[in-house]
Amino acid sequence: MPAANPLWRSLCRHIVGPGRGLAPDVRAGLAEEDGARCAVQSPPRGRFRRFFRLCDTIREYFLHAQRKNAQAWQDALQKERRAKRRSLCLLLKLLNEEQRREFRRSRQFHVIGGSTGVRYRIRVDPFSNIDVLYPNGTVKHQLCVHPTGEVPIYDKLAAQMLYLQDATTERRLLRKANILPARAGSYVSSSAAAWH
C-alpha cells in the first residue's frame, strides 16, 4: 500500500533508528532522505533500549490481563462449587430418611405423585431426569422439566420433588413437562423395588 509506506518508514526510523531492519534498497533511500539528520540523532543502542522497554510494557500488560482472567475463572468456579454444595444441603434437608438413604447410595430417589399416586424416579441428570414408572418398576417414559433461572442441579431435583409430591403442583408439572420415550436399557435398581 503506497500510502502506508511513509508511515511505516517513520515508525521504523523511530523504533530502530534510520535504515535498520529494512531491505537494502529501502535503506539506501532512507539514508538519502535522512541525510545529515542521521548524524545528529541518538545512537541506535538507545533506540533499541526504548524498543525493548516498549516490548516489556506490552508483555507486562498481557501477563496482567492473563492473571486477571485466571483469577476471574477461579472465582467463578469456586462460586459454582459453593452453590452446588448449598443446593445439596437443601435437597438433603427436604428428603425424608428413606429417600436420603437411597440418594446417598445410588444418586437417585423415588417420589409418589401427590394426586396420581404414580411412582417417579428422580435421577441426578441435567436433562429428562424424571422416570415415570409402571407399578412393576419398569420405565414408562421420561419427563423433562426444570425450574427457570440457572439454579444448581440439586435445586432442580428438590424443585421437581416438591412439585411432584403435592397434589395441585403435580398436575401443573405434568402439563408443562416434555415427555420422552424411555431409554433402552432403563433398569430398576433393587432399592427401587424394595422401596415400593
Partner: protein, 82 residues
C-alpha cells in the same frame, strides 16, 4: 430454660443460582414477620411457587399465602418444560 418461653423461628429458603438464600424470622416479632411476608408476596408475584410445613421434618405442601407459623418454607422458581 423453658422451651415454651423461647420464640420459634421460621425459615424461608429461596432457590436461586447461588444455591439458595435464607430468610429467618422470629414468629413473635411483627417486624421480622412482615419483612418475610413482603418477600414472600414479592416472589409469588414473580411466579415462584411456595411449599411449606409447620415443622421442619414434615413433608412440604404447596401454599398460596404466607403463614408466619410455618417453620419451613421453600420458594421454587417457575418451572418450564426442558
Amino acid at each position: 430454660m423453658d422451651k415454651a418461653s423461647q420464640s420459634r423461628i421460621g425459615e424461608m429458603s429461596v432457590m436461586n443460582r447461588s444455591g439458595h438464600t435464607q430468610l429467618k424470622w422470629h414468629m413473635d416479632s411483627l417486624k421480622e414477620t412482615a419483612a418475610a411476608e413482603d418477600m414472600f408476596n414479592h416472589l409469588i408475584g414473580k411466579g415462584y411457587s411456595a411449599f411449606g410445613s409447620k415443622t421442619k421434618a414434615a413433608p412440604k405442601h404447596a401454599i398460596h399465602e404466607f403463614d408466619s407459623t410455618m417453620e419451613d418454607v421453600v420458594l421454587v422458581p417457575r418451572i418450564i418444560g426442558g
